[in-house]
Amino acid sequence: MIRQGPLQRFRSHGDRPAGWWAFIVHRISGVALALFLPVHFWALGRALEGEAALEGFLRWTGNPAVKVAEWGLVVLLAAHLTGGLRVLALEFLPWRNWQKSLAAVAAGVSLLVAVFFLLAVR
């Protein structure tokens, strides 16, 4: 096999199909959510240290940077959920040659959730 670095391999591979991009989004969102989960549990754990600790933390989450991060989190969740539904549909429903449309539907629903959350939070 001719040895190529990952970037070289990516560049020399021609256009990627929609399914490849769907896979990448699903994998990256999954890893990011897995990294977030311990932080989530740590935040809930503040409650064990008393009302004041939790309250102080919750007040801190009100700052704009955290709000932006929260929006990013919802986007990740939506992308991972719709990506997972796409895989389930692909693998368990009879094949109908609409795998590309599934990737588009997953992206569309994620975008809708993202926009809705952006408008709702403010």
Binding site: M1, I2, R3, H13, P17, G19, W20, Q99
Partner: protein, 260 residues
């Protein structure tokens, strides 16, 4: 009818430039020479109308360097032996026209990815076909030559499922285009699994229990992430992704029935 005008109503007829209309009279072709640690060598090849990538390689071998190693047999898209990486994309070179793939009068030809290189543009296909055997890609007959001919209705569900995947010519384009094969070389790959799926649907076959067990492993159908590069690149327009999804369902069903 002159080339360059599309015939109405024929979607397969593509616009081909006449020699006089070609953008340039020659094309620069970088060809991989040597084994895995080889290098690219540039050749200048005259442009012709309706010239295929295989024509280009053959011209180099006949006129510039007779030591160039490459494989082909039928030249008409039946034998599956001439696949190479053309400008980064695995293709059957006998049916790939230069004017469709040469960006800026340049071609870069490498052997197929995901297989060991023997020399120049020739890959060792043994690993590829060993995977067909590992996926139990061989018919296990349930009748002998003395039995009457099996009747398989063309409209039956099984026949149609097998039909959709049966035209594979074993060129290795899907295997070379698959990222999962690149990430874990023991993955059986789209071609072998596609073959297994045709036999899962073959009503004359009696080897399904062993076949489903063979494709249910770690390096089998469940390793597929449905990226569909195989389906995108298959020169025969098959959908190995669909076949692999079918195998995933068949394996799940067999597991629920306690057959695995």
């Amino acid at each position: 009818m002159t080339a360059g005008t599309a015939q109405a109503g024929d979607p397969h007829r593509e616009r081909r430039p006449e020699t006089a209309q070609l953008a340039s009279s020659s094309i620069d072709v970088d060809v991989w020479r040597g084994v895995a640690d080889g290098r690219f060598v540039r050749y200048r090849v005259p442009r012709e109308a309706s010239q295929t990538v295989l024509d280009v390689v053959t011209w180099i071998q006949r006129n510039l360097d007779p030591t160039l190693a490459y494989r082909y047999a039928c030249r008409v898209g039946m034998c599956g032996s001439c696949a190479m990486t053309v400008n980064g994309v695995a293709r059957w070179t006998c049916r790939t026209h230069v004017d469709r793939v040469a960006a800026g009068a340049r071609l870069e030809l490498r052997p197929l990815s995901n297989l060991p290189v023997i020399r120049d543009l020739v890959c060792d296909m043994r690993g590829f076909f060993d995977k067909w055997a590992a996926a139990r890609g061989r018919l296990v007959p349930t009748a002998t030559r003395n039995d009457p001919m099996a009747r398989v209705l063309p409209a039956s569900r099984e026949r149609r499922a097998a039909d959709a995947a049966i035209e594979c010519i074993g060129c290795g384009v899907c295997h070379a285009s698959c990222d999962i094969v690149a990430w874990r070389p023991d993955y059986l790959g789209p071609a072998a699994l596609n073959r297994a799926w045709t036999l899962v649907n073959d009503v004359r076959d009696g080897g399904n229990r062993a076949r489903l067990a063979a494709v249910a492993g770690d390096a089998g159908c469940h390793a597929c992430h449905s990226q569909a590069s195989c389906t995108e690149r298959c020169p025969k327009h098959l959908a190995p992704t669909a076949s692999i999804a079918g195998l995933k369902r068949a394996v799940s069903r067999a597991l629920l029935k306690g057959e695995l």
